[in-house]
């Protein structure tokens, strides 16, 4: 029911600044609060019981900083694509392939930097192919990328039959990805930088605006003159690129490529996005949410490990958080839609 200017005073027409109440209505606000609460609990617990709960030990902090970026970077790509309204199940396979690509190219005498550029290109090309297959044939991306997931996984198996491959570049290249400055791991710095780039792209660029609109309603986006297919293919390419980046980050730290590394990663990345307030239906979400989602997922696993909980608890807890996050986000969206 609309009111019209004739019967309202002029002050009601003035735009207002965003109030705290509005900020708290954003889906990402609840997940940030949860994250802070959780963080306070863990830090408090670690200060009270420094011997039995080793959350704040340098080795644990460093471990978290190295573990979060890998899934976090994959989730940045998957999340941007999810906001555009599509899925990418091939990221786990691309992640593993990136490790093999780095190792094999390096073994063949290619310089680490050239190997890096080639590997990133492979990720982009796989993403573009995923995108073209999805938009040109009109089949759901869930199916199209499931196909490429299996295809690339098969390729990785074939590559792995030639024997174990290792990637141990020396000097500057390794320290760019595995070093640390003032106790902050290089991998984490990369994650924060990439998240900043993703945030600019999504929230402050023309392409980002088109991603939101295409994900919200492809029909309307096309009706207002947006090249919806192009936007989707670009989003797929970014997803492939992010997966390749994560793979490079991982192989530089671990040093050896194994074929089973990336299995299940695609669903974990989607879980990170959903915990971070993205909608499976597309059109909504924030980069901050993806970052917090990745942090929460790993913190939960880390805390359970520190508490020496049996392994199966990991899955149980991640599953529970996932469902609770979706329920909370849906409830919030319904409330703000009123």
């Amino acid at each position: 029911m609309a009111n019209y200017a004739s019967d309202v005073d002029a002050s009601a027409l003035k735009p207002r600044g965003r109030r705290w109440r509005d900020l708290l209505r954003e889906p990402v606000a609840s997940i940030c609060l949860l994250f802070l609460l959780f963080q306070l609990l863990c830090v408090g617990g670690a200060l009270l019981f420094p011997d039995s709960f080793r959350y704040l030990t340098p080795s644990n902090v460093a471990l978290l900083q190295r573990a979060i970026p890998v899934i976090g970077i994959v989730a940045l790509g998957v999340g941007l694509l999810m906001i555009t309204g599509e899925y990418d199940l091939s990221v786990g396979s691309v992640y593993t392939l990136a490790g093999y690509s780095m190792a094999l190219l390096y073994a063949a005498g290619v310089s680490p930097v050239a190997a890096l550029l080639l590997t990133l290109s492979i990720g982009i090309v796989i993403g573009i192919v995923n995108g073209l297959v999805t938009v040109k044939t009109g089949i759901p991306s869930f199916i199209a990328t499931m196909g490429s997931m299996l295809l690339v996984r098969g390729l990785v198996r074939w590559l792995s039959e030639a024997g174990a491959v290792s990637f141990r570049p020396g000097g500057a290249f390794a320290s760019i990805f595995t070093g640390s400055i003032f106790g902050v791991e290089a991998a984490f710095i990369w994650f924060v930088l990439l998240a900043g780039v993703a945030a600019l792209l999504l929230h402050r660029s023309r392409l980002g605006n088109h991603m939101f609109l295409v994900g919200g309603s492809e029909r309307t986006a096309r009706a207002v003159g947006i090249h919806t297919h192009r936007v989707k293919v670009v989003a797929f390419a970014l997803s492939g690129l992010a997966a390749a980046m994560a793979g490079i980050l991982s192989i530089t730290r671990v040093g050896t490529a194994t074929p089973a590394q990336g299995i299940g990663m695609e669903l974990r990345a989607i879980a990170v996005c959903v915990i971070g307030g993205l909608f499976l239906s597309g059109g909504r979400g924030t980069v901050l949410g993806i970052v917090i989602g990745a942090c929460i997922l790993y913190m939960v696993e880390d805390v359970l490990l520190l508490l020496r909980a049996p392994g199966f608890y990991l899955d149980v807890f991640v599953g529970a958080i996932l469902v609770v996050a979706v329920i909370a986000n849906t409830a919030l969206a319904r409330r703000s839609a009123r």
Partner: protein, 247 residues
């Protein structure tokens, strides 16, 4: 209406087939400046197809289009936008999950510096248009999601967008079907004001009373053909109803 002026937009001998189905056959349609034309006809008469051809969503099988007497081609939304044609669909003009501002500038975003969105300028323009052009209250921030707006508020946002982007001609496809009585009144009043500002409009509706109230001329379609073109002075709601029912 002076008959000697060239029409703003003229469609000549337009046919459109979907496989064996002939949606439009040799249709002629024209609209002059400062004119509101009601496009009438029963379901399946070809009204929506005609609108889709003018808005660039569909391309005619044959026929040609003139803008101000000069031949024009409308193959995409961008083409129709360049000709100053803006379409307001009953439900699909705006994306519900996006904010008013993001919808307002959809596909025509303002940027500054290295291609970053100029959020400040866009927010200011949106609020200015909403407050001064369509004078709609109850919207106090450009960040509000469109899905939280009422049907009338959504139409108002779409109309404000059309006005801001200097539209010469509005295509309104069943704009009143989802509106309350009061919102419909407001929309019809907007159409009158836009006409005074020199904006023409094609108004598709099933409601002959709404059409009669706001249109200068009526074009009646039946089974893909234009069967009548009548000015408001020479007809009545009853006569229009009879024409639609009998064909």
């Amino acid at each position: 209406m002076s008959a000697i002026t060239t029409p703003l937009l003229e469609l000549k001998g337009i046919s459109k087939s979907y496989g064996h189905v002939e949606a439009l056959r040799d249709a002629h349609f024209e609209i002059r400046r400062n004119e509101v034309v009601g496009l009438l006809g029963d379901n399946g008469a070809g009204k929506s197809t005609l609108v889709k051809i003018m808005s660039g969503v569909e391309f005619p099988t044959s026929g040609h289009i003139l803008r101000d007497g000069r031949p024009a081609t409308i193959r995409s939304r961008k083409d129709s936008e360049l000709l100053g044609i803006e379409t307001i669909y009953q439900d699909s003009a705006l994306v519900g999950s996006a904010s008013i501002m993001r919808n307002f500038f959809a596909g025509r975003e303002l940027t500054r510096g290295p291609g970053l969105l100029d959020m400040h300028a866009m927010n200011a323009i949106v609020m200015d248009q909403l407050v001064n052009t369509v004078r709609i209250a109850g919207i106090d921030s450009p960040d509000i999601l469109v899905e939280t707006l009422s049907g009338g508020q959504r139409q108002a946002v779409a109309i404000a967008r059309a006005v801001y982007f200097k539209t010469a001609m509005l295509l309104l496809d069943e704009p009143t079907s989802a509106l309350s009585v009061r919102e419909t009144d407001k929309l019809l009043a907007h159409l009158g004001e836009l006409k005074a500002d020199g904006v023409s409009a094609v108004f598709i509706t099933h409601n002959l009373y709404h059409a009669y109230e706001s249109c200068d001329r009526f074009v009646v379609l039946s089974r893909g053909r234009v069967i009548r073109s009548l000015s408001r002075e020479e007809t009545s709601v009853r006569e229009l109803n009879d024409i639609i029912v009998k064909h």
